[in-house]
Amino acid sequence: MKVFVFGSGGDIGGHVLKQLAAREHEAVAMAETEIRAEELQMMGATKVIVATEKEFSGVLAGCDAVIYIARDNPIAGENKNMLVDHKAAIRAVGEAQQQGIKRFIYLSPVRPDESEESKETGAKDEPEEMIIQSGLVYTVIRPAKSASKPATGTITAGSSLGDAEGEIPFEDVASVLVESLGSEAAANRSFEIAPGPTAIPEALQALK
C-alpha cells in the first residue's frame, strides 16, 4: 500500500515510517528541509516532498491511504506555535476525497480525559466530525497522554475510556496507526486508546 504520512517529522511519525517500511508499505512524507528529508528517508520513507509552504495540493496523487498525525503540524516550523493546525487537517481531507484515497487514519489531538472546553480550544476537535462525515473509510483515534517511553506492544482501546491512567509510548501509538491501516474492525470507527494489557491487534479486533 502507498501511504502518505502527515506529521512524519514528529516523535510518533518517525515510528510510523519505520513500521510502514517494516511491513513493506510505501511511505510518502513531507519535510521542511533537505536535511530532514534525508533523515525521514533513512527511517524508511520511500519518497519525501520538501515543502516550505503550506500548500500541498496534488501530493496525494497515487496514494492509497493517509495517516494524519494531527498533534504534529506537518509543515510547522519552530516559529509556528499554533497548537494544532486544524485547517491543514480539513484541507487534507478535501484533498483525500479528490484523489480517491481508500483509507484515512486520523490521530486526533483531542485526549480522552480532556474537558469539553479544552476539546474545543482552537477548534481542535473540528476535523474529527468532518472526517466522519467525509465519506472516506476512516479511523479516528484519540490517544491518552503519550510520551517517549519504551514500547510495550499492548494497549486498552474503547469508544470512551474517560480518565485513563498513565502515558502511552509514542511507538505504541504508531503501532496502532499502522495496524489500523489493514484492520476491518477499525474501519469507519472512532475510538480511544490508553496504556493497557491487550496486544494491539487483538485490542483493535475487539472494537467490532
Binding site: T33, I35, E171
Partner: protein
Amino acid sequence: MGKISKHLPTALTGSMILAPLAYVAYLYQKDDNQKQHAILRNFPLLGRVRYMTEAVGPELRQYLFSDDNEGKPFSRLQFEDVMRSAKYNQRLIGFGSNRNFEEEGYYIRNSLFPRLDTELRVDNTEKIDTFKYVIDKEGLMSRKEHREGVQIDPYYLRDDDAVVLGENRVREPFRLKGLIGQAGMSYGALGDHAITALSSGLALAGGTWMNTGEGGLSDYHLKGGADIMMQIGPGLFGVRTPDGEFSMEAFKEKAALGQVKAFEVKLAQGAKTRGGHLEGKKVTEEIARIRLIEPGKTVNSPNRFVEYDTFPKLFDFVDELREAGGKPVGIKIVVGDIEGLREMAQIMKERGSHSGPDFISIDGGEGGTGATYQELADSVGLPIMTALPIVDEVLREYGVRDQVKLIASGKLITPDKIAIALAMGADLVQIARGFMISVGCIMAEVCHTNTCPAGVATTDRELQEGLVVEEKLFRTTNYLTSLRAGLYNIAAAAGVDSPTKLERKHILFKDSNGRISPVENMLEKMTGALEK
C-alpha cells in the same frame, strides 16, 4: 541477688564514666610518650583533631565550604552536570551560568543565524530504550524520586559524517557514528562491576568505543558488548610472552575478535608519564590470566617500550601490528617536545600515507585517572588545549594531517569543552573520569588505595556490592547521549549543521583583561614566545 541488683545501676553508671576517662588517659599518655609526631607530643589528644579534620577535609570542602566553581579536579558544578545528565537525563540549568567570566578562557563564537533543529545533520532514526530518574518531591533532608523507562534520541552522526579510523589503510576500518569514546581504564584499576556497567552502557548508546587501558582485554570489557579499542602499554599486558617480550601470537588472538575494533599503542598518558608498578598482591589469578603475567608476582613496567626508542622503529612496530591485525593502530602521546613532534611529522611524510599510526591520541597533562606521582601529574606534559592545536598545526605544516585522526583527552567532560577540542583540531574525544562519575564516582581521590567508597576504582568485593551494574549502565548511556545532544546544540549555535564541522574560526580566547584573540597559528605564537 539483692546486693547485685542494688549496686548494679551504680556500677554501670560508674563504668560508663570511668571507662571513657580511662581510655582518654591512656591515649593522653600514649601521645605524650610516642616519638613520631611532634604535634602530638606537645599537644597530646588535642593534636588528634588534626588527623580527623585532614581525613574528612575533602568531604567537608565538597559539601560545605567550597564555592560551586571550586573543587578539583572537577568543580562541583562540572560534577553535577555529569551526574544530572547521567541520572536524570537532564541538562537544563536555571538562572544562568556560574562560570567566572572575569577569568581567561575559551568561548564558542555563536552565529547570529543559528541552525534550526530541522537543519542539523543528525541521525535520530534509531531510538534508545533507557531509564532515568524523575524527582517527585525535593525535601530539605530527602529527595523522593523514582526510576522510569524512557525512549531517547541517540544523536548519531549521519553516515556521511561518520569518522573512520584507518580509512583506505586497513582491512577493517573502524566507523564511528559518534565523536566521543571512553578513554583507557584498566580492569584492576576499576572493578569488574564498573567495567561491566561501562561496557553495557556504551554498547546501548552505540556510536562509541571503550578503551581497555593498558591492563589488557578483560572479560568485563567484552561482556557488555561495546566496541573495543585495546590499549598496548610498555608492559605489553595481554600481548606478551611469559618473559615480557611482545607476543605476536597473543596479539593476533585479540585482533581476531570481532568486538575489538582498534589498537592504541600508549607511549604516555597525562597522569603517568612513567612506567607502571603493579603490586604482587594485586596480581590475582584472573588478572594474571588477562595480562599474561605470573600470579602473585610484582610487575614493574618500563616508562617506554624498551625496543622502540625512535620514530622509525616505533612506526615499524605500528605497521607490523596493522598488517597482522588488519585493524587500525594508533599511538597515544603527551605533548611537551615540539621538536620531537616535528621529527615525527617529517618521518610520517617520508614514509608516506600507508605507514605510521592511523590515529594519534593526545592526552593533556591534566589527563589520567589512577595512581601516579604528584610531580608527574602536575607538571609534566602540556595541557590539552595547548597541546592539541600544536599537534594539529605541526601535522598540517608537514602535509600529513589527513593521514591520521586526532583523538583528544584531558578533562573534557562537558559538551562545551569537547566542542572546543573539536574546533581546535580533534576528530574525536575520549573521556575517562566523566564516565567514572557516570557510574557513581564521587571524587574521593583514593583510586590508588583500592578503597574507593563508590565501588568504582576498586576490586574489593564488598565495596563493589554498592555498584549495581543493571542500574548504573543506563547512566553511562544517558551521559554519553547527553554529551552528543549537547554537541549538536553547540553546532547549531555556531551555525554549522554537524559538530564534525566545528573549526578554529568557531572559537575565541578571551584573556583576563577582556581582550580576545583567535585560536589560530598557535605554533607561530608559541615559537615567537620561545624566541623572545
